[in-house]
Structures are given as C-alpha cells and as structure tokens.
Symmetry: C2
C-alpha cells in the first residue's frame, strides 16, 4: 500500500518473485482483447512516430477475494490526465492506463459532477450548457472527439494492483517493438504492499472483539524487469511521491540509479501542483508552473522538457 | 475496514469510547456551516412532514495524517442514490450523506463518464445529447433541478470515517427534534477498524525490506448511541452486507436486537441488486425486484415497504 512506482524498497527482485506474483494473480479479464487492441494501435502508430504509455491514478489492494474491503492509494489522476493531453498535443500517440473513475484527458477543468453542474434543459426541452461552463464543456467534448477520431489515444482501465501490473507487462511487451521511440511515463500510484491472492480470505473478514492485525507482503519491483527485459530500449520515467522533501530527493536519486531510469520525477505531496524536481543523471532540474497565468499547470513545462530529452535520446 | 453500519462486533460500546473517538478525531471542516444548513432544512420541512437521512457509499480509513494511503470499502453508492430518489417521490425530505465521488440521485442510469459518452457538439457549435442518451440525460437534469428548486434534497459529502461519524452525530441531533417523523436509512458501508488519529504516522509510511504489519483499532459502535441518545424516537434502519448468506442472516438478527433497530436490511454481495431480506421483530421479509421490467430495481419495492412501515409506526 504505497504511492511510488512499485519501487518500494531497493531490495533486488528476482525473476522468481515476479513469476510467482503473476502465477498467483487472478487472471486478467479480456487479456486477449486488450492485446489485440494494443497491437493494432501500435502498428498504426509505429511508422508515424512516438508512442507514450501514461499510467495514472492509484492501484487498490483487495483484502478479500469477493472484494468488500481494499487498501487504496490517494490519486485523482489529474497529473496523468493533464500529461496525456500535452503528449497528444506534442504529436505522441498515447496509451492511457488509468484507474477506473479517475480524471480523463480533456475533462480536468470540469466540476466533479459535470452533468448536474454544467447543463440545463431549456424551455424548448433542449439541453444546453450553463453559460459559466459553456466554453470548458465545448472544448472538452471537441478535444475528446478529435483524439478519438484521430485514433491517437487508447484508454485502458485498471482497478487492482494485479490488473495494473498485468496490463503493464502486456503494454511494455507490445511497445518494445518500437525500440527507443517508446516512452514510459509511470505516474500511477502503485501499491508497495499487497495480500497474495492465494492467501486472501474468500469471504468478508469478520470483525472480532479485539483489534485487527494484518500482515502484507511486498509487491515485487517491476521497474527493474521493465527496464531489463520488457522494453530495454525505451525512454523510462518513473515518479516518486513523498511528504518529506529530504526523503523524497534521496529516494528519487536512488531509484534513478537502481532501476536505471532516464528520469525520476520527484513530487512533494503539498507542492506538487506548483513544482516538481526532475532527477536525471546530469543533475536535478526544477520545473515550475507559469504563475503569471492562473490556469497554467506544471505538466505543460514538464512534458515540454521530457519531449526535448526524448528527442535528444532518439538522435 | 468493513462494510456494515459501524456495527462491527457486538461488544458493548461505552460512552467513554465514543467520547474518546470524537475527541481524538481531526476537527470536521465547516461544522458550523453544515449545522446551519441542517437546521434551516429541517425547520422548513418539519411542519411539512417526514425527513429521512440516507447515508451512501463507503468510508475511508486514512493510514497517514498527510494522507497518501487509506483503507476503503467497496460501495458505488448506487443503493443510496436509488433509495433517495424513491424517498423523494414518496414525499420525504432527504438528507443525503454521501461519499465524495459516488452515485448521486437521478444520475444512476448514466454511463460512468457521462460527458464524453452522452454529448456531442453539432456543426452549429451547439451542445446536444447523443440520441441513445437523450431521454436519460434530460430526465437526470430535470429531476435534479426539481429537487433543487423544491428544496427537498440536502446533499452533504464525506470521505473519511471521522467525517462520516461527525456528520452522523450532527444530523441525528438536528433530526431528533422531528421525533418519530425522522427516518434513518443507514446504507453507507462504514469501516469497522481504523487507525486512531493521534497514533497515525504524520508522513508517508516508508516501505521497508520485509512485510508490513499493521494493527487497527475497532471503530466504536455508534448505532447504540444513535438509538439511545442522539435520536431516540426515530425509525431506524441499518444494513448488513456479507458474502455468506448464513452469516448474513445471523448477524442481521443479532444487530436488530442488540441495537434495537426497527429494521435491518440484509444484503448478500452477489445477489443484492436482485433481492434483499428485511429483518424485523415480526419476522423476515424477502424483497425482490420486479423481473418483468428490465429497468426495475429492488429499491422501488424496498422503499415502498419502508414508507408503509414508517407510516404504521407514526400512527
């Protein structure tokens, strides 16, 4: 239960750990269909240019097989959704692997309950957007339809840690054919700890008269195997989120070396919408949002920096 | 971490336990404003008739004070949202205490991502509903506006177990002035276990090289105190959700007696959209949805039964 990139600690993960994690996971629904969609998407894009995987939102760890209770990571998916928009604008094809129910590209600026807040029915019984939301709503609808009709955005949902990692493996393997044109932007908040499926209670855990003691196992570190085996030539960016700045930069630096990432984006929980620190082998780069524009976000300069670095990496 | 009504086990809860829970909780934001809204709502309704509190969605248990990780209960809020609609149609004023982000009354039949799926921009740059969704969308918007303009629906959001129980106390105390005209319909999935705020880590829990051991304390059972002290004359309905039918009926029966509920609605996880068992002192009543209509739901006959029983209780 954590918000890193499945990094967790810096213990070495063996191939056996990873095999055993996947072997004991409940099978991914529609795996064949997802694979088919991915192949089609990547084949279409592979001769046009660059493809990025953006992961977004938090994974859950079920505590029961017939799931009533689970451990979740806080993540609205707003960073992933914003980043996907800027990658699309920069000409990338985007595979958007997102937590069910979190923010989607082009919908971030809408209120939480868009239907109720944004619309009204006129006296002629037509639907219309309320004046306050009209511009935002129209842009959201239009941009979404453009991405859909261009076929440059493939959205794949997940909920549990099992679904996330199974999808990540499928996508990485498909994207490895793109070599260094593939970009991994792993912004999802992935659980560090989980309950292995075979040791999980089938029915709801009964509350007893005392306190509840739980023991959670570590999720194997998939970043190593992604880097080494799944997509060895890709440009890889992982994320770190911490609430303590000192721990944050230390852990980001360690992750960069340990997992041989091209960049680690370091986020401090309270200031992450204003600035992030991009940790690279060449040093740290502070990226800040343009404070002269009220609606400017930090993802705009961040994606610009990444696109430049990826281009340099390609040439 | 559970999905009951904060019942958990059937240990007696002392007033000290409850006082200590509230004393150690982080203060509820906007408590004064919520109280003011409630008083205004109840005063307006008190001479018109019956008021129901519908609680909906699951509570979270934060694992860190600057919350990155939390334990959550599975609940879409679809039962609560549907029930609120039928109570409104039956002439009740509804206080809807819901988990942020879950289903809202009159929006259940819309797809998850309503904006993208339901709308399009016409060539004249007007917004229009896609034909498939037009009827549903118009009804959703109209019904919502009717409830808003009648002032019969007061929506209050929560996320954590602390916010839920603090709101429950505020609302019960305000509604106690209505005597037996007040109805409590406690459908929310409330955590049984939590981490007391003062013993919670301030910063994000660091993953270490071994497994993670956690000890969770029991949430005090608020149903007793609601029944005895907060709103002693109200008609009270609590919910039980289990994945095992035998355990379910046993626990529902015990809760009915132990907490002196007027009804306990027993839900089995897999069949709960088809049927529920209403456990009362006079025996069990099986309530099933009308299977001759595709869009019929189990909440329709359930709320009809409750409204009848509440009327009998009043006279």
């Amino acid at each position: 239960m954590a918000a890193s990139n499945g990094l967790g600690s810096f213990e070495e993960t063996s191939n056996d750990d990873i095999k055993s994690f996947f072997d004991s996971s409940p099978p991914l629904k529609d795996a064949a269909e997802i694979k088919r969609k991915l192949e089609e998407f990547i084949q279409k894009k592979s001769f046009l240019g660059k493809v990025v995987l953006v992961t977004s939102g938090g994974t859950t760890v079920p505590l029961e097989q017939r799931c009533v209770r689970y451990i979740d990571n806080f993540s609205s998916g707003s960073r992933g959704a914003a980043s996907a928009e800027y990658f699309l604008k920069a000409g990338y094809a985007v595979v958007f692997l997102y937590r069910e129910g979190t923010y989607q590209p082009f919908c971030r600026s809408l209120p939480n309950n868009p239907l109720l807040e944004c619309f009204e029915v006129t006296s002629e019984s037509n639907i219309t957007a309320r004046p306050l939301y009209e511009k935002t709503v129209k842009e959201a609808i239009s941009n979404t339809h453009v991405a859909a009709s261009n076929g440059t955005l493939l959205k794949l949902p997940f909920t549990t840690i099992f679904e996330y990692l199974q999808n990540l493996q499928l996508i990485s393997s498909s994207m490895s054919s793109l070599g260094s044109s593939a970009l991994f932007y792993l912004a999802a908040a992935v659980s560090d700890f989980y309950v292995p499926w075979e040791s999980m209670a089938v029915h709801k855990i009964q509350s007893s008269s005392g306190p509840l003691d739980m023991r959670l196992a570590q999720v194997p570190k998939m970043l190593s195997v992604l880097r080494k085996d799944w997509a060895p030539k890709a440009f890889c960016i992982s994320f770190k989120l911490e609430t303590d700045m000192k721990i944050l930069l230390e852990k980001a630096g360690t992750a960069l070396k340990k997992y041989n990432m091209d960049m680690v984006v370091a986020n401090e929980l309270l200031t992450r919408k204003e600035e992030v620190v991009v940790v690279t082998k060449g040093g740290n780069i502070v990226v800040q949002r343009d404070t002269t524009r009220a609606d400017a976000d930090v993802e705009e300069p961040l994606i610009k920096l990444i696109v430049d670095k990826h281009s340099a990496y390609l040439s």
